[in-house]
């Protein structure tokens, strides 16, 4: 259990809604799809695993990728591991991922450079994430600093 999420299911609920929005957004999703990779996010406290498949054809029409909440057998091209709290702050645009690596907060492997290329693409989502939280009635999770 971390500062923001009481358990894994709560994290999945919020991230699921958020990723659903991102992957069907024509501007952001189309750019993400160009990466053509499978990304696995591994979170601690609470422990969770989310896989984003940008390589295989999307399972849903109108989407640019597919995400999986929980353990997933799809082979990842790149993985990133970090505390869930850090990720939560990252999606608010409050954490510098390079600094996270420098401090040892973020661990990663695989095609790291391909994932890094997505950082500019996902920057607009930093404004969307608080909106998502509000839509889900979770203003209490909105972080400003």
């Amino acid at each position: 259990m971390g500062k923001y999420y009481k358990d894994t299911e709560e994290l999945y609920t919020i991230y699921g809604y958020f990723l659903d929005n991102i992957l069907k957004d024509p501007k952001i999703g189309s750019k993400l799809a160009r990466a053509g990779i499978v990304i696995k996010f591994i979170y601690t406290d609470p422990d969770a695993e989310i896989t984003i498949d940008l390589k295989n054809p999307p399972k849903k029409e109108g989407y640019y990728g597919t995400f999986y909440l929980g353990k997933c057998d799809i082979e990842a091209d790149v993985w990133s591991s970090q505390p869930a709290d850090h990720s939560h702050r990252f999606w608010h645009g409050l954490e510098n991922p390079i600094a996270g690596v420098a401090k040892g907060i973020i661990k990663q492997g695989g095609k790291v450079t391909a994932m890094l290329k997505l950082l500019p693409v996902i920057k607009p989502t930093f404004q969307q994430f608080p909106i998502v939280l509000k839509e889900m009635g979770r203003e209490d999770l909105i972080v400003t600093k």
Binding site: N96, I98, K103, K117, L119, P120
Partner: protein, 626 residues
């Protein structure tokens, strides 16, 4: 002595005589090597009244103690002089293969004074130093001269060469090592040219490095090499080159576009970024000696008006300065322009920045066709940039070539009409392609207080502010926000020390990002035996920084010269940083307080200089000041 050799070559080009100077180990303990050692030698040997192109001017190259060590990021050296661009302290650092060979030959540096009577090269081989008339090389591009030298001396010789720009005294001419690695900044190529030296050639030497703790050094190399390789920044650099994060920089507003009039152009970033370069034109990577990162790009453009044979490709600074800054999205054109600068021996940052200033001046009507000799200056017109503007600068041809060869500050002073306000420089050195308004307000402070002028690598602020490094052992854990002044002066204090250490030990600032500060000091100690504590190392860094400021003081610079132009400080017009003000005055005032710098003279107080063991220097400057 370990690491360093205690010997420096002094070559007098007027007399042709060579002297080997023996330096006490204490000099190295105080100034480490590289730019610190070079600054100390400059202090001791320079004629401070000599103009940059005077026969009495001094050009100094210096290795760090790690040169020749088979560890990524240690194959660099520094060069120091009085800059023809700024009139101030000039320093630049360069990687490649020359530094190890100088070390293997048994020397820590080269001091060059005087002037050859005719175009010559300096040849170093097996303990002999010769000035060899080489008039046939004069006028050749760097590539042409490089090929001729290789043919004459063999493929394993290493070179430092100037191009036509250096020969003609362009204020921002550079020196290239083996035609790919650059002492890019401050016009050192023009100093070399003013001495009629076309090249310095060193033959391959075989030697065994002497380490104070040999087994520890070997262990460190074994442990650190894979870590350096796997570090995230190293991976990006290897795969995409230094322009690999152009898109990221653009999104933060860090990339100046069209002479700093814009801070965002998404399409431009996509077209010019490092991954695009990799996909479209990269043929292989290049590297410095022993470096596993291999960030250098070797590119080839097969088709189109800007086709290129295989050769050096652009760094981030080149892509931004000759692309974004000029309003061009044509990556092939940028590669061509960068290659052209390499061949002529021009600093790409100052070239791009000076042309960008001129483009805006032309657009405004401050610069007329009469003053350009009829050359139209239009944003994004890379045909004119490549075919007319850059060659005219290098050759100092026509009114435009003569004007722009001075650099943007001097050119603006010539033109007048308040055009100085939209230059982007400090002390006359054009700013690198990181806009403090978006990249971080601490950059503004770094540009102003860097001894050589606007610079993001003389200090460590660029990396500290962007989160690329973390030094809890010396009180820095990243928690900075880019677009504020909060904690920036305090960070700058550490940054000056760290940057001085990096540039004096001659660590590559890409490779050492994966090291802790304690590890950097540990490497130094294992090689040299100096037994620096962390505080000792920081003190050495601050000592070097203060010495450089004293050098500038003797050139007539004072506190007021630690300044930025209006363009660099006015709120950004678009992008992430739109409308945000930089509290520059507050930051620099606080930095001066923290560093005990006199707010008028711009140099450290007597007590502070004494604290760092600069008693003699303090006596001289403060006596002179009175």
């Amino acid at each position: 002595m370990y690491g360093n050799t205690g010997k420096v070559i002094h070559i007098n080009c007027t007399t042709g005589k060579t002297q080997i100077l023996s330096l006490e180990e204490d000099v190295y303990k105080k100034f480490i090597g590289g730019s610190g050692l070079a600054a100390k030698l400059f202090w001791d040997y320079a004629d401070f009244d000599a103009a940059p192109f005077s026969e009495k001017s001094v050009l100094i190259f210096a290795n760090g103690p790690l040169a020749g060590m088979p560890l990524s990021g240690t194959s660099r050296m520094s060069a120091v002089a009085r800059s023809p661009l700024t009139g101030a302290f000039a320093e630049s650092s360069c990687g490649g293969y020359f530094p190890p060979q100088l070390r293997y030959a048994g020397y820590d540096g080269i001091i060059i004074t005087g002037k050859c009577t005719m175009p010559s090269i300096i040849h170093i081989a097996q303990g002999s130093f010769n000035i060899i008339p080489s008039e046939e090389l004069w006028g050749k591009t760097i590539d042409e001269a490089y090929s001729a030298i290789k043919e004459r001396y063999g493929g394993r010789s290493r070179t430092l060469i100037i191009g036509p720009a250096g020969e003609n005294g362009v204020a921002y001419a550079c020196i290239l090592s083996d035609a790919h690695h650059a002492f890019g900044r401050c016009g050192l190529g023009a100093i070399m040219g003013s001495k009629n030296i076309k090249a310095i050639v060193i033959e391959p030497h075989q030697t065994i490095m002497k380490y104070f703790e040999e087994q520890k050094v070997k262990r460190l190399i074994k442990e650190l090499t894979p870590r350096i390789k796997e570090y995230i920044i190293s991976q990006v650099l290897h795969e995409f080159g230094s322009a690999g994060n152009l898109e990221g920089h653009m999104y933060t507003g860090d990339v100046p576009v069209k002479n700093w009039t814009s801070n965002f152009n998404e399409e431009m970033a996509e077209k010019l970024t490092g991954s695009t370069l990799t996909e479209k034109y990269l043929t292989r990577t290049g590297t410095c000696a022993y470096c596993i990162i291999a960030c250098k790009r070797i590119v080839k453009v097969d088709e189109g008006p800007y086709s290129l044979p295989e050769g050096p490709g652009p760094e981030y600074e080149t892509v931004a300065a000759l692309g974004c800054l000029l309003g061009s999205e044509d990556l092939a054109a940028v590669c061509k322009a960068g290659r052209l600068c390499n061949e002529f021996g021009l600093d790409t940052i100052s070239t791009g920045a000076t042309i960008a200033w001129a483009m805006e001046a032309f657009e405004r009507g401050d610069l007329t066709e009469k003053e350009t000799g009829g050359v139209p200056l239009q944003w994004g017109d890379m045909h004119t940039v490549i075919n007319t503007i850059i060659p005219s600068i290098a050759r100092k041809e026509g009114p435009l070539g003569h004007l722009l060869a001075k650099g943007s500050k001097a050119a603006a002073k010539t033109i007048g009409r308040n055009s100085i306000n939209y230059t982007a420089q400090s002390k006359g050195l054009e700013a690198p392609m990181h806009d403090p308004r978006g990249g971080g307000h601490g950059h503004a402070l770094a540009y102003a207080v860097s001894p050589r002028g606007a610079c993001h690598v003389s200090t460590a602020m660029h990396f500290m502010e962007t989160g690329a490094c973390n030094y809890p052992e010396i009180g820095f854990e990243f928690d900075l926000e880019a677009l504020t002044d909060e904690k920036k002066p305090e960070t700058m204090v550490l940054a000056t020390a760290i940057g001085s250490i990096e540039n004096s030990a001659c660590f590559c600032q890409y490779a050492d990002r994966s090291l802790t500060f304690a590890e950097m000091v540990g490497i130094l100690n294992a090689v040299t035996g100096y037994n620096y504590s962390l505080q000792d190392a920081l003190d050495a860094g601050w000592r070097i920084y203060h010495l450089k400021r004293l050098i500038n003081y003797r050139f007539g610079l004072k506190a007021g010269d630690d300044a930025l132009t209006d363009r660099m400080l006015e709120p950004a017009r678009d992008g992430e940083p739109q409308g945000i003000m930089i509290n520059f005055d507050g930051m620099i005032q606080h930095f001066y307080e923290l560093m005990n710098l006199d707010k008028v003279e711009g140099i450290a107080t007597v007590d502070t200089l004494h604290k760092y063991g600069l008693e003699q220097e303090a006596a001289l400057v403060w006596q002179k000041g009175k």
